[in-house]
Structures are given as structure tokens and as C-alpha cells.
């Protein structure tokens, strides 16, 4: 689900809906935002929509802080996530090319 695959919730309540919302916002698809936002309001709550928008906004911005400042992953996080990153293909992201 994190990489945009899978049609189920992935064990997360309303996971598929939330992923669809995040994708719509990041891709700037106004129609899709409208549909997924309405679904969040219907299946979760108005407050859930606001908090979802806030989280998406946070990470759309904070990703840019990380990439623009060239921050490394902390050693302990790198160790903890080594297998996960390999499985998800995160190590193939452009920013990681050439990084040991």
C-alpha cells in the first residue's frame, strides 16, 4: 500500500481510502480529492478529514526539508529498517544512488 500497490486496507482501518486521499492530494487531482475527501467524511469523520489533510501537508513539506538539506538517516533507524527498505525498494530512490 505504501508503494501504491494492493487493493485492500493492509490491516489499517480505512487504509485504502486514506491512501487514495493522499495520492489525490499529492498529485493535485481536484476531482479525486473531492471524492476521497467526501468518503473520509462519510466513513470516518470531518475531523478525520482535517487531520488527514494536515498529515499529508506535513509530509509533503518535511520530505522537501530532508531532500533539500541532504540529511542522512540516523544509524539506528538505518539498522532497524534495513530489511524493510530493501524489501520495499526504497534504496533505489534517486537520492540513494551512490550512497553507501
Amino acid at each position: 500500500m505504501i508503494l501504491g500497490k494492493g487493493e485492500q486496507d493492509g490491516g489499517v482501518p480505512h487504509g485504502r481510502l486514506l491512501v487514495a486521499y493522499a495520492e489525490a492530494v499529492i498529485h493535485g487531482d481536484a476531482a479525486a480529492i473531492g471524492r476521497s475527501a467526501q468518503s473520509i467524511r462519510e466513513h470516518l469523520s470531518d475531523a478525520a478529514l482535517v487531520d488527514s489533510a494536515a498529515v499529508v501537508a506535513t509530509f509533503n513539506a518535511i520530505d522537501r526539508v530532508a531532500d533539500a538539506c541532504g540529511i542522512p538517516l540516523e544509524d539506528e533507524k538505518a539498522d532497524l529498517t534495513a530489511d524493510l527498505r530493501a524489501d520495499l525498494g526504497i534504496n533505489d530512490f534517486p537520492s540513494q544512488v551512490g550512497v553507501a
Binding site: D51, I62, A66
Partner: protein
């Protein structure tokens, strides 16, 4: 001062979110550390304009953004190197490179200027993305407040792992310690510490939009209308789309 922020939303927006967004909007207009209010607002406007840039579209579609030359479609008023920083950070952050950053510095861009520019860009991205998520247009930018930038450079900041100089929680001076108050001092919080005001302003927003560090680690309680797992799923999907490893 604008009217009550987000009053045009179809859903109630919690008061602390509206308050932090108002603070962030107001801060864009104030003189900063290396940039005055007019410059900061020009960067904010150019951040919004970057989505209309044909050069950025061509670069985004290319195998390598560095293989495409050209001039940005800019609003005017900012130097081309500044516009390039703004547009690249705004439109294709996942493919920024150390070599590119070094070329920015080699071209005469100051490190503090760069970090503050990043701070302004990401503030606008956060505000505008939130509004977009609620189906709303971006907030109008305020008018610039008078005053000169402070030109404060922390003596403790140096290049240590990041591209930009930083000062960690252990290294920070008493004067700058406020940026790590109730914060763990993770690399992401250190990232803009060359310009302490940007750290404090940006994480003021982060902690209200997302969670504080303590809340993030408190799995016994929920603090939002979506739970920890739902929050992290949203965060992970956004970061995967942006191809951000951190």
C-alpha cells in the same frame, strides 16, 4: 491580518491548526535571518508559480533533471539561481543532489540564504497542501512587514553529515536551545538549524499538523481523529510518492 483563517472550509478546522497556520502565514511577511519580508514573500509566490513552470515539467519528465537546460518560467524579481532553488525544491525534491547543492553554493548562494529559502518553500508547501486537501484555494499572502534580516549565523553550526551546516541538540548554544525544547533533536529537526528561526517556525506547524515527538511515541493514547497507524500510513504513502528515503 486576515479574517479567521480556514473560515471558508466546509468542515470545522481545529483551532490550534488555524492558529499555527496564521502564525506561519504571518511569519512569511516578517524579516527573517537572511531575507527581508519582501524577499520571503517573493519566494512564497514563486513557490506557488513553480507548478506552472514548463522547464520544471520537462525536467520532471526527464530521466535526469540535470540533463535539461533552460530558463524557468518565473514571476520575475528574484535571481535565476534563487528561482532554480525554489523550483527544484518545490517540484522535484527527490532528485536533488549534493553536486547540484554544491553548484548552488559555487554560484555565490549563501548557505544561510539557501536554508532560509528552503524554510519558506516548505512552509508554503505545507499551507497550500493542507488547503488543497480540503478543496480550498491557497491563502492570500500578506503584505511585507518592514525591517532588516538579523544575519545571525550560529557559531556552533558546521557541516556534519548533511549537505548544509547544522548544530545538534548537544552542540546548540543557550541562545538557540529553544529550537530543541521538547524536541528529540532528530536529523530532520537539525536540518535547518543553521537558521534557528526556520526550525522553530516549521516544527511549530509540524507538531500541530502531525504530532509532537512525545505523542508520536505514545502508542497508549491517540491524539487525533485518525490513529497512529492511519497517520503513519498517510505519511509513508506521501513520502513514497515524493521518493523521500528519510
Amino acid at each position: 491580518m486576515t479574517a479567521i483563517i480556514h473560515a471558508d472550509a466546509a468542515v470545522p478546522v481545529r483551532a490550534d491548526l488555524s492558529a499555527v497556520h496564521q502564525r506561519a502565514l504571518d511569519r512569511l511577511a516578517l524579516p527573517g535571518t537572511w531575507l527581508d519580508g519582501s524577499q520571503r514573500l517573493a519566494i512564497a509566490a514563486e513557490t506557488r508559480n513553480s507548478g506552472r513552470c514548463s522547464l520544471c515539467r520537462r525536467r520532471k519528465a526527464a530521466l535526469s533533471p540535470y540533463a535539461i537546460d533552460g530558463r524557468h518560467d518565473s514571476l520575475g524579481g528574484l535571481s535565476e539561481p534563487m528561482v532554480d532553488v525554489i523550483h527544484r525544491v518545490a517540484t522535484d525534491p527527490g532528485r536533488l543532489s549534493r553536486d547540484w547543492y554544491q553548484s548552488v553554493l559555487d554560484g555565490g548562494f549563501g548557505e544561510g540564504n539557501y536554508v532560509e529559502t528552503v524554510g519558506v518553500v516548505v512552509t508554503v508547501v505545507a499551507l497550500d497542501t493542507f488547503r488543497l486537501g480540503l478543496g480550498l484555494p491557497p491563502l492570500a499572502l500578506p503584505s511585507a512587514e518592514p525591517g532588516e534580516p538579523s544575519r545571525y549565523r550560529p557559531a556552533a553550526a558546521y557541516v556534519q553529515g548533511c549537505w548544509v551546516p547544522t548544530q545538534s541538540k548537544d552542540q546548540v548554544s543557550e541562545e538557540d536551545a529553544y529550537i530543541y525544547h521538547n524536541r528529540f533533536g532528530a536529523n530532520i529537526q537539525q536540518a535547518m538549524s543553521l537558521v534557528p528561526a526556520e526550525v522553530d517556525g516549521f516544527f511549530d506547524m509540524v507538531e500541530t499538523q502531525y504530532l509532537t515527538g512525545a505523542e508520536m511515541r505514545d502508542f497508549d493514547n491517540e491524539f487525533r481523529a485518525i490513529n497512529h497507524v492511519q497517520i503513519e500510513l498517510l505519511a509513508a504513502r506521501v513520502s513514497a510518492i515524493n521518493q523521500c528515503v528519510y
